[in-house]
């Protein structure tokens, strides 16, 4: 889960607990003595690992520096890399993203790269050594779900690293769809934190992810243009005499 958008630390804690997640992303921001420490305390109490991210960065330079600061602060090589190209859509800037990914991988980071649903960029990120690719379903916080399921399926098919659907999930069925498409996980923030009932939605997400994963592993039936009866034609009684 992401930790942004919650109305209070208590509400966030309840939602995180209900979600059953093992990892939560955190942003790196200027120290504010008023709220210092409480977020990590909440994560520690729940046994949730903090994953620093580079949210708010528009350039590779800023993202690399932010990642290094996150590594310093949290003593982890893991980072969610996010480099934004436009402050209204919050869509990633692929040029800056690839540059930052390359530099961070070289510097020993375990890079989980937030990216668009473009399979070509996803492949390049993997080739650079990213530990996971995290394509968006739709813009951050938009709740528009998975706008291009075909592209997500293409990314999943080509990837040898985990694929995490990250951004745009609006409700539980979006998370289920992501898992049915073959994603290894989803990352959700706003759909939970901004829901009218965050813990309830967090639980729904957990169940949705589980359902989608089970369905994916079970294997779906193909889509047919016409019907295929599930009841046999053989053994039918003749209930109306021939004319």
């Amino acid at each position: 889960m992401g930790t942004g958008g919650a109305t209070s630390m208590a509400a966030l804690g309840q939602a995180l607990k209900a979600s059953g997640t093992a990892m939560a992303t955190v942003a790196m921001r200027r120290v504010d003595p008023a709220t210092r420490g409480s977020l990590l305390d909440v994560l520690d109490q729940l046994g949730i690992r903090a994953l620093p991210n580079t949210a708010g960065c528009f350039t590779a330079r800023d993202a690399v520096l932010t990642a290094r600061l996150g590594r310093e602060a949290l003593a982890t090589d893991w980072v969610k890399l996010e480099v934004i190209g436009d402050d209204r859509s919050l869509l990633p800037d692929p040029v800056e993203l690839l540059e930052a990914a390359e530099e961070l991988v070289d510097d020993g980071f375990v890079v989980l790269a937030y990216t668009s649903d473009d399979p070509v960029v996803a492949r390049r990120l993997e080739q650079l050594g990213c530990a996971a690719v995290m394509p968006l379903g739709s813009p951050i916080g938009s709740g528009l779900g998975i706008r291009n399921p075909h592209n997500i399926a293409l990314i999943v098919q080509a990837a040898s690293v985990p694929v995490v659907l990250d951004a745009g999930i609006g409700t539980a069925s979006d998370a289920t769809m992501a898992m049915e498409l073959g994603c290894d996980a989803v990352l959700v923030a706003s759909a939970v934190t901004r829901s009218p009932d965050p813990p309830a939605m967090a639980l729904a997400m957990a169940r949705g992810v589980e359902a989608g994963r089970l369905a994916h592993l079970a294997g779906r039936i193909p889509r047919r243009f016409h019907a295929e009866a599930s009841s046999p034609w053989a053994g039918l009684a003749q209930l109306t005499p021939d004319a």
């Binding site: 955190v26 994953l51 949290l74």
Partner: protein, 77 residues
């Protein structure tokens, strides 16, 4: 209040202009900012866009016009 006989440095800390006594270390600055003598957990510092590791805070003194960013994890992401 810093006495007149002590040289003061103009630096910026988290975007705010500050006057600090010459010789002030990063460690001292962070502990003042966080209200914790050891600086507190999960804090990272950059001076002029370079990370200064915690192990160097006590031995790194601020210089005139240094831009200091003191960050810690916050809700987001």
């Amino acid at each position: 209040m810093v006495p007149e006989c002590v040289e003061r440095l103009e630096v910026s800390v988290n975007g705010r202009p500050e006057l600090v006594a010459a010789g002030t270390t990063i460690a001292a600055l962070v502990s003042t900012l966080t209200g914790q003598a050891t600086g507190g957990r999960a804090v990272a510092v950059a001076v002029n866009s370079e990370v200064v590791p915690r192990s160097q805070w006590a031995s790194t003194r601020l210089a005139q016009r240094d831009r200091v960013e003191v960050l810690s994890p916050a809700q987001g992401g």
